[in-house]
Amino acid sequence: MDPRCRLAGLFVLIFAYSFVSDFRLLGAILAFTLMLFFMSGLPIRFILQKLKLPSIIILVLVLILPFVSGQNILLDLGFISLKQEGLHAAGLIAARFLCIIITVMIVLHTAPLLTHVKAMRAMGLPWIMADMALLTGRYLEVLGSDLKRMQIAMRLRGLNASRPGLYMLRTRAWLCGSLLVRGLERADWVYRAMRLRGYGQSMAAPCEYRVTALDMAVLAASVLTAGTFTGLEIWFGL
């Protein structure tokens, strides 16, 4: 599928999700997301794994808001009370967050990340941004394994990783500095390699993508869905 259409559809959808605040519509977007999820055939474990890291702020908000926000008390526990507006806000945040992140995972993980960067370039992302992003993405894993090997080397020479104080900070700073120096040195060679094969010859990268009828249909469907949610939200808000 044409990644450009997929990206455009994704952005339209997630902004529509984050516009929704009516409870009936929250139910609808949740249902829609679940439908997408089952259509994608991704395992549930995959989503759960991805949800672990980012949800701390969401978790904190969802746990605190019902007790600190609003006037209508639903349940009085004496020193603390559960309030309706807060509960509403918590539900809103949780539902939108889940919908957006699940949709993003589904769409982005069906193709390598750099494909999406290339799609953005084809959609008019300035070349400096696009080239930087492609190179950054290309070398993330390389520098990541450099870091891993340096950490192993440190451990083999007796680094006490949990020793507190300046010693610990200094070894971290050295690690970080070594990564930067190695990165910059590598950049010199990468630039040479690129120049030797004609980089900067103001050759526009050829467009690798072709839009098919299916792509247009999917894009139209996502725009339509997003439009419906947005329209209904405005309608209900009136």
């Binding site: 390598p112 993405g137 590598r186 390699a193 030797l196 094969r197 004609g198 010859q201």
Partner: protein, 250 residues
């Protein structure tokens, strides 16, 4: 591609020094003609890589002129006639996948998409790496990376390929494949290597460099077999030139 000219690389009184460093190359004079396979040997820091960077126009000589295919090398112009295979393949492959990397050069030569594709596949088949085409570059083994980086050079159909220490980290099987591939990879090749056996098998002329100067040049077996000359410049006679080399140990 001037068919008549037979000089491929000509350096005249080339000197170079890195800023803040002493002289790195001193008064290099060198001519390489079409069809030659030239090996450059010499200790670490002799200036081999630096000379290659000058020849490709990445660095500019402090004095002297370098001509590639009879035209003076200027830094700004992209010359697909000369390709350089770097010492570290990791730095040479910068695209996300192998196929894209091999296609990068031909694309910048302004060829059409079909021709680009044809050349990329042809080069990949030559180095026997067609099965890797869609793999991300950073997941390849060191040997595979080396072969792919050679393919990126081959895809540009250069008249001259310069190899900078091509056999480091290769296992013996891959090194052997490299040795059989190199002579046919381009009309003219230049190899810098510490792997004297490789130079011996591939090259028709050898140049000995030390401390930024060309010490001597000539027939590979002749130069590398000259024990006193080799030892004076930190080299050793390669074992295959020493009959019954193996001394019994322990």
């Amino acid at each position: 591609m001037s068919v008549k000219s037979s000089s491929v690389l000509k350096a005249e009184n080339v000197s170079f020094s890195y800023p803040g460093n002493g002289g790195t190359l001193h008064d290099i004079n060198l001519g390489i003609t079409r069809g030659e396979k030239v090996g450059i040997i010499g200790p670490n820091g002799a200036g081999k890589t630096t000379f290659f960077l000058l020849a490709c126009g990445i660095l500019r000589p402090v004095s002297g002129v370098i001509r590639l295919f009879e035209k003076p090398v200027t830094g700004s112009k992209f010359n697909p006639q000369a390709a350089l295979v770097f010492q570290k393949p990791d730095d040479q492959l910068f695209c996300p996948t192998v196929r894209e990397d091999v296609a990068f050069g031909p694309q910048n030569m302004g060829l059409d998409a079909q021709e680009v594709d044809r050349r990329a596949w042809e080069a990949l088949y030559k180095v026997d790496a067609a099965s890797l085409a869609e793999r991300p570059v950073h997941h390849l083994s060191e040997g595979e990376k080396r072969m792919v980086s050679i393919a990126t050079a081959l895809a540009m159909h250069p008249g001259l390929i310069i190899y900078d220490e091509p056999s480091a980290y290769l296992d013996i099987r891959t090194r052997r494949r490299l040795i059989t591939l190199m002579p046919g990879s381009a009309e003219t090749i230049i190899v810098a290597s510490h792997d004297l056996e490789l130079v011996l098998e591939v090259c028709t002329r050898v140049i000995l460099m030390d401390q930024g100067r060309i010490i001597t040049q000539g027939d590979p077996a002749g130069i590398m077999g000259d024990e006193t000359l080799m030892q004076a410049h930190g080299q050793e006679k390669p074992p295959s030139l020493v009959p019954h080399y193996y001394r019994h140990q322990h």
